[in-house]
């Protein structure tokens, strides 16, 4: 009742974010001795390798071709030699092809560059093709092919480009770095996307702690391309596209949800940065955070860098107990530190032992309803949790809409009984998908 009106139902107010000057800093990370490049690094089909073991490749050279619509091409992040191509398990246990590349010693990194593009002089189709060729994927966490995304948006008649400048996870600081260090790239990328979609309306949404930086950008360079700014009160998980649109609508933005298409700030900036220089995607801007690091901050990390190497570069201490891909709310704890940084990686957190006091044992659900209030999709996590405990998975989907869960973790975050709600839901959904896949396989036979 008192204070800001929530812009979407539920969500949680995480500890307030404070920005420092160091947040805008971006450090370049060195090459590891071996880069491991999976042929599928994003949400989509795998690409097909076009190199052989033993091939010498140059930075930016095509390593794998995209054949399916949802696939993206893969380029060499460094000049060096292809050591090996083998099938290896990815994070979910499925086998995927991996190209192992040994970067050449020394600083002699030759590079293939293409033609720099200027949005004012290129046709929309030319830009679209270039975006596809650069191997870009969504960098806000969704990690689908950006090319495919734009094709669909164009077909769907998108009229407004919404730039999602909201950090997906607490502890990340990509937004200030992009706003302050990559302002021109953001504007270039926006121009290109606007040109592809043949529209002129755009909007940048940030949370209040980034309002100042965003204001500067819009004032200095954004005005001439019609970019307007919306500063929203912070609330997790406002970064989820659907919730962001709700938030914008209830904060007075003149927005027709059906006409809006949301791109993360990181994606827009990367489009501008790569295409205006004729580059392709070979590295990834990440916030490395957590109390297990001596030098946390933003790093530009070459694709394929092993997590262990990245952590060491950021000054990981010996007492790191848990490493998260992504962030603390949705991030997956990694089992093996030799796994590489890929295009879908959005952040890396190293948690020192003892910092998060031992996880309390879950207690019985007291039906307080905190999770119901917190759920941004307005599900009923308490009821779902009780059903999950009984193994009544079917009812979770048919009666209680588990398929709409966005796995943001708000329910688990607020639960005073420490019930691993979202963890249970994830398991139930995984099982559901497996069953569907099984059923799907049996139909043709």
């Amino acid at each position: 009742m008192f204070g800001l009106r929530p812009a979407f139902p539920g969500g949680v107010r995480l500890p307030a974010v404070e920005r420092h000057d160091s947040d805008a800093l971006i450090r370049q990370m060195a090459f590891a001795s071996l880069l491991r490049l999976p042929l599928r690094q994003h949400a989509g089909a795998a690409s097909v390798a076009v190199v052989q073991p033993g091939d010498e490749v140059m930075r930016g050279q095509l390593l794998a071709r995209a054949e399916a619509d949802t696939a993206v091409p893969l380029h060499a992040p460094a000049t060096g030699r292809v050591v090996r191509i083998s099938a290896q398990p990815d994070g979910d246990g499925a086998a995927v092809g991996v190209i192992e590349l040994a970067p050449a010693a020394g600083d002699t990194q030759e590079e293939i560059t293409g033609r720099p593009l200027d949005p004012a002089r290129c046709s929309p189709d030319e830009l679209l093709r270039a975006i596809g060729d650069a191997g870009l994927v969504g960098l806000g966490g969704e990690a689908g092919s950006t090319h495919e995304r734009l094709v669909r948006a164009r077909a769907g008649g998108a009229r407004v480009v919404v730039i999602n400048g909201i950090e997906g996870e607490p502890g990340q600081a990509r937004v200030p770095a992009l706003l302050l260090r990559h302002g021109p790239d953001v504007i270039q990328g926006l121009r290109m996307v606007l040109r592809v979609l043949q529209t002129e309306r755009s909007l940048l949404a940030v949370e209040s702690h980034d309002g100042e930086a965003a204001g500067k950008l819009v004032q200095t360079v954004g005005a001439d391309c019609g970019l307007t700014l919306r500063v929203l009160p912070p609330r997790y998980p406002q970064g989820a596209a659907g919730l962001l649109l709700r938030s914008l609508a209830s904060n007075g933005a003149d927005l027709n949800r059906a006409e809006a298409v949301v791109f993360s700030l990181a994606t827009i900036a990367e489009i501008g940065r790569l295409l205006s220089r004729g580059w392709v995607m070979t590295d990834q801007l990440l916030t490395l955070s957590g109390d297990g690091l001596d030098k946390p901050g933003n790093y530009r990390v070459p694709l394929g860098t092993p997590i262990a190497f990245a952590l060491a570069e950021a000054g990981a201490r010996g007492d790191v107990e848990r490493v998260l891909l992504g962030g603390p709310m949705r991030g997956k704890a990694v089992a093996g530190l030799e796994r590489p940084i890929v295009k879908a990686t959005t952040g890396l957190v190293a948690v020192a032992a003892g910092s998060a006091a031992g996880v309390p044992e879950p207690m019985a659900c007291i039906r307080c309803g905190d999770c119901v209030t917190a759920c941004p999709v307005q599900l009923h996590p308490a009821e779902l949790g009780l059903l999950a405990r009984r193994g009544e998975n079917e009812a979770m989907f048919t009666d209680w809409y588990l398929d709409r869960c966005i796995e943001c973790g708000c329910c688990s975050y607020v639960c005073p009984s420490h019930i691993p709600l979202v963890q249970m839901f994830r398991a139930a959904r995984l099982q559901q998908r497996r069953l569907q896949r099984l059923a799907g396989e049996e139909v043709p036979a």
């Binding site: 596209a241 998260l324 704890a333 998060a356 019985a364 999709v377 307005q378 009923h380 709409r404």
Partner: protein
């Protein structure tokens, strides 16, 4: 120095947790009840202390017997005992107190699967059982407030042997609680002493003001949903004001109706129990409203002087239905991406 992979911990996300935990909620509730408990001991002396202590001990014992060992630590048994003790007449034979506590925990809580399971508040189950089992004791075991010698001796009735009628008669102050005096047509207590609580009544149901303060503390600590007491007290105020306007002779004024300790205890500490109240905010309003209406109806139109206990039980029976009506509709459109 890098950690080796096999030492990594692999919990699922989220890796953050809000600063809330069930034992903490229980602790705050106990803290919120301290002022009124201390005041009760001041008012009724040893009788109040013994009643509350026996209720808590009996609840802990019952919890130990019926529940899993780990459940002793969550503090819910202590809170149950404290609330039950506060809701009983001070001179009630102590064996009845223990009996009620046992019913509350064994039947009211563990028969329904323990913490989070009960469809009715265990305290209310114990209280309503005692009320039905020993109506004369529950209606007469009162102690006059601020009686001389209260600090050193227990009322004779308190020490009755288990399952036997006490030797001494109950003090049976005429009218006992202010509301039953009103119902019987006697002159009511002055409004001020009603709110301050220098009146006869159950151990912890005398001072509406202290209970109100305790409730506000819980709201401040975000332990309870403020909507429930707000709706409950609001609807009691509204309906009793309307009735008073219709017939001032027969129906008490609004402030008198609100100044009942039982109402305050019920509204802030019992109705708000998460297990028996609706999960949604809209539901909380409806729930409070329904209980308030029931309180006024039972007080004014049935044979009972105080209807809070019955209204709360009936209200929690409504909870599943309220939850059903106010169930949130999941968002459907494009949340993902």
């Amino acid at each position: 120095m890098m950690p080796s992979s096999h030492l990594l911990s692999l919990r699922g996300a989220p890796h953050l947790h809000a600063d809330s935990a069930v034992p903490r909620l229980m602790l705050h509730s106990v803290i919120a009840l301290l002022p009124v408990s201390v005041f009760a001991v001041f008012l009724f002396g040893l009788a109040a202390l013994a009643t509350v202590a026996v209720a808590i001990l009996a609840c802990l014992l019952a919890e130990r017997v019926c529940g899993p060992r780990s459940a002793l630590g969550d503090g819910s048994a202590i809170l149950t005992g404290l609330l039950l003790g506060l809701s009983l007449p001070p001179a009630l034979p102590l064996w009845m107190v223990a009996f009620g506590a046992f019913v509350a925990v064994a039947v009211g809580k563990h028969l329904f699967g323990g913490l989070g399971g009960p469809a009715f508040h265990p305290v209310l189950v114990g209280r309503v059982f005692l009320q039905a089992a020993f109506p004369s004791a529950m209606a007469q075991a009162w102690v006059a407030p601020l009686a001389a010698g209260r600090a050193t001796e227990l009322p004779a009735t308190s020490l009755a042997l288990p399952f036997l009628t006490p030797d001494a008669p109950y003090d049976g102050i005429s009218g006992a609680t202010p509301l039953s005096a009103l119902k019987a047509g006697e002159a009511g207590e002055p409004l001020l002493s009603l709110w301050l609580g220098t009146v006869s009544g159950s151990v912890g149901e005398t001072s509406a003001l202290l209970l109100l303060l305790g409730g506000l503390y819980l709201v401040y600590r975000r332990v309870i949903d403020w909507r429930i007491p707000a709706a409950l007290l609001g609807s009691v105020a509204l309906f009793s004001a309307v009735l008073h306007a219709i017939d001032p002779e027969r129906f008490p004024a609004m402030m008198t109706a609100l100044g009942s300790g039982a109402l305050m205890l019920g509204a802030w500490f019992l109705a708000t129990d998460p297990g028996i109240s609706p999960t949604t905010r809209r539901g909380a309003w409806l729930y409070g409203l329904a209980i308030g209406l029931l309180v006024v109806v039972i007080r004014q139109f049935s044979g009972q002087a105080e209807g809070v206990m019955y209204a709360l039980l009936l209200g929690s029976a409504l909870t599943p239905h309220i939850d059903r009506w106010t169930r949130p509709k999941p968002l459907s459109e494009g949340v993902e991406e």
